[in-house]
């Protein structure tokens, strides 16, 4: 049943040693996320446990409203669980100070949001530069790196456009360039191809594969099978619970 499924995945990937568990990049144990809606409690996540090793390429699929974005926000240290423990690189996230969390969001995690989340008033270049500003990188280096990042997503000729002067796919690529600018060890992408045509989707997926090959850990939420098939491992979520966790490569 569900139970055996949840246990199959992690047990299989951690191959038995306690050491491996310690060194998991992401380790979630009995995570609950509950929203209080008046008198009713809404469990967006119920007792979710899983772990992700460094260098893995994971896809999370599931119907709309099943809790995928909620889970991603927890992984990305943007939100905190109602119950359960979350360790990133062996460190307990619930015990981190605000500054430590900010540092992790800045340096360790690149987040591509379902809704892009670009600064509306800032140019593409400035949007991509922003994580570098908070990382304390000098202006000239920042400019060079952000320009290069935009070129790598083929937006070299759109650096001074504002988000509302870009197409949906172009905005998504700006968001990806921003997520990658600080060379994060984990790339979290929530529906990164949702707004893209199939050709651009393929290009983005190729980019992800390249990053994975370079040793980055990638977690992508999607409901497109072509996207999920590129991953090495697929977790299926339904009603806030892990329904299936299978390694496909």
């Amino acid at each position: 049943m569900e139970n055996s499924n949840t246990e199959d995945g992690p047990n299989a990937s951690s191959a038995g040693t306690a050491m491996a568990k310690e060194e998991s990049l992401i380790l979630m144990k009995n995570i609950w996320k509950t929203y209080q809606m008046g008198v009713e409690e809404l469990h967006a996540l119920r007792d979710v446990s899983f772990q992700v090793e460094k260098g893995d390429y994971l896809a999370i699929i599931g119907p709309s409203g099943s809790g995928k974005s909620t889970l991603m926000n927890l992984i990305g240290c943007l939100d905190s669980p109602s119950k359960g423990t979350y360790l990133i690189n062996g460190h307990l996230v619930s015990e981190m100070t605000d500054d430590e969390l900010a540092r992790i969001r800045n340096k360790e995690i690149g987040f591509v949001f379902q809704t892009f989340n670009l600064l509306a008033r800032a140019t593409a270049l400035h949007n991509v530069e922003l994580p570098l500003i908070y990382a304390g990188v000098r202006a000239s280096e920042r400019h060079d790196r952000a320009t290069a990042a935009l070129e790598s997503v083929e937006l070299g000729d759109r650096t001074l456009h504002r988000p509302n002067e870009l197409s949906g796919g172009q905005r998504q690529r700006v968001a990806i360039a921003r997520a990658l600018i600080n060379n994060p060890s984990i790339l979290l992408a929530d529906e990164p191809t949702g707004a893209l045509d199939s050709k651009t989707s393929v290009e983005i997926m190729a980019l992800f594969e390249k990053l994975h090959a370079a040793g980055n850990t990638i977690i992508v939420v999607t409901h497109e099978h072509e996207v999920a098939e590129r991953a090495h491992r697929v977790i299926t979520i339904r009603d806030g619970q892990i329904e299936k966790d299978e390694r496909i490569k």
């Binding site: 939100d79 500054d99 670009l118 800032a122 922003l130 500003i133 990382a135």
Partner: protein, 415 residues
């Protein structure tokens, strides 16, 4: 350190971007600050101007001078009381008696022989022109020691000319301009009530205060000659010159002597007054200090209102930019980054308002300076600017703190 400044510049740039994006709001926010700073600039420049002019004029009477008069001397806003007007006049003999004091170098009487409000006018004519509107003062040659008047051309009268009531006079700059504008007046004559007086000297123009009477519109004649022109003249003002560095002692001696001469009973207040340049300047400074405090209060209220406006606008801005704050936090902004960003934004906003206020205030005070002695004191612009920036930072603190404390995920969800 380098990182800190580069961060600061980055925040400043972001602040400017934001302000440029919200021009109208930014403008409305800073009006209070602009007005506050203009107030500071204008009032401080006017006060400084008056202060400088008053000090100049009073100092021109000399730092060793002690003024003695039957009524109270100094800056006053009330009219002399009946008691003051009824006091006995000072006399030539009083002045001569003061000269005998050990700490007094000399004392000079000034007899006012000008036209009165009623009674016979003193008509002065020369070179085909005629007027009664000139101050006529009888005095003694020792006026040259007092140094309150500078002879540009010619000389003061001698003791012999005083003793023999010679018809000689010295004229102020304004008098010269009236009768002999384009030529030397020395050696010429003028008629006072029909008597011919020889002009033996021409005096330098005196420092002028707006609205004050023209000190250069004066004719000095020997004391006795003045009495002959206006036999009932009795309004005597005495200026004593103290020995160097002994002004306080001289003032005491003068008061003691005059109390005796004027028979003031023990324990009764003086029925005359004495003043020095310093005492008048002190008196004036205490008045301007009051005005300055009023200025600080008024402009503080202006700046305070501006500050509350800033807080209001910043709170609105924080709410409106909740999503932006969420995005910034999601990509690694620390609480302190957000706090500093909003503080710099508020400080930039009001600092900018301060600069506008400084520019307008400076312009206005330049215009005022055309009509009125005024200048912007060196401390006013920095005070105005830093007060503006400070207002922004102080009143931006609460909104910035609110922004910094926002939860990243809730901010991202904010519509």
């Amino acid at each position: 350190m380098r990182l800190v400044t580069s961060r600061f510049l980055e925040n400043l740039k972001m602040a400017f971007d934001t302000l440029r994006g919200n021009k109208l709001r930014a403008f409305l926010t800073i009006i209070g600050v602009v007005v506050g700073v203009i107030t500071v600039m204008l009032i401080s420049s006017i006060i400084s101007g008056i202060q400088l002019a008053v000090e100049d004029q009073i100092k021109s009477f000399g730092t060793r001078s002690i003024f003695v008069y039957k009524m109270d001397i100094g800056i006053r806003f009330d009219r002399p009381s009946r008691e003051e007007r009824m006091r006995p006049d000072l006399t030539l003999e009083d002045a001569l008696a003061l000269r005998e004091l050990s700490e007094v170098e000399t004392a000079v009487p000034f007899l006012n022989a000008s036209s009165g409000w009623w009674g016979n006018a003193t008509i002065i004519s020369a070179n085909g022109k005629q007027t009664s509107n000139i101050n006529l003062t009888g005095t003694l040659p020792e006026i040259s020691v007092a140094g309150t008047e500078v002879v540009l051309e010619g000389r003061w009268f001698t003791q012999a000319e005083v003793d023999f009531k010679k018809d000689v006079c010295l004229i102020g700059e304004t008098v010269k301009e009236t009768f002999y504008p384009n030529e030397s007046a020395v050696g010429k004559t003028l008629e006072i009530n029909g008597r011919e007086f020889r002009i033996i000297g021409h005096l330098e123009k005196k420092a002028q205060l707006l609205g004050d009477q023209d000190e250069s519109n004066t004719i000095y004649v020997p004391f006795g000659s003045a009495l002959r022109i206006k036999p009932n003249a009795d309004d005597v003002f005495i200026m004593a010159v103290a020995n160097e560095g002994r002004i306080a002692q001289a003032q005491d001696q003068i008061e003691d002597l005059l109390r005796t001469r004027r028979k003031v009973a023990f324990g009764r207040p003086n029925n005359f007054s004495t003043a020095t340049a310093d005492s008048i300047i002190d008196q004036f400074n205490s008045i301007t200090a009051g005005v300055a405090i009023a200025m600080v209060v008024i402009s503080s209220i202006g700046l305070l209102i501006g500050g509350i406006g800033v807080m209001n606008i910043m709170l609105v801005s924080v709410t409106e930019r909740t999503r932006e704050i969420g995005i910034r936090k999601a990509i690694g902004a620390k609480q302190s980054d957000i706090l500093i960003q909003f503080l710099i934004e508020a400080g930039t906003l009001t600092g900018f308002g301060g600069l506008i206020g400084l520019a307008i205030g400076w312009g206005l005070s330049l215009i005022i300076a055309l009509f009125f002695p005024s200048y912007v004191p060196y401390w006013a612009p920095p005070l105005g600017f830093f007060a503006s920036v400070g207002i922004g930072i102080v009143f931006g603190l609460f909104p910035a703190w609110k922004a910094a404390r926002l939860d990243p995920i809730e901010s991202l969800r904010y519509e």
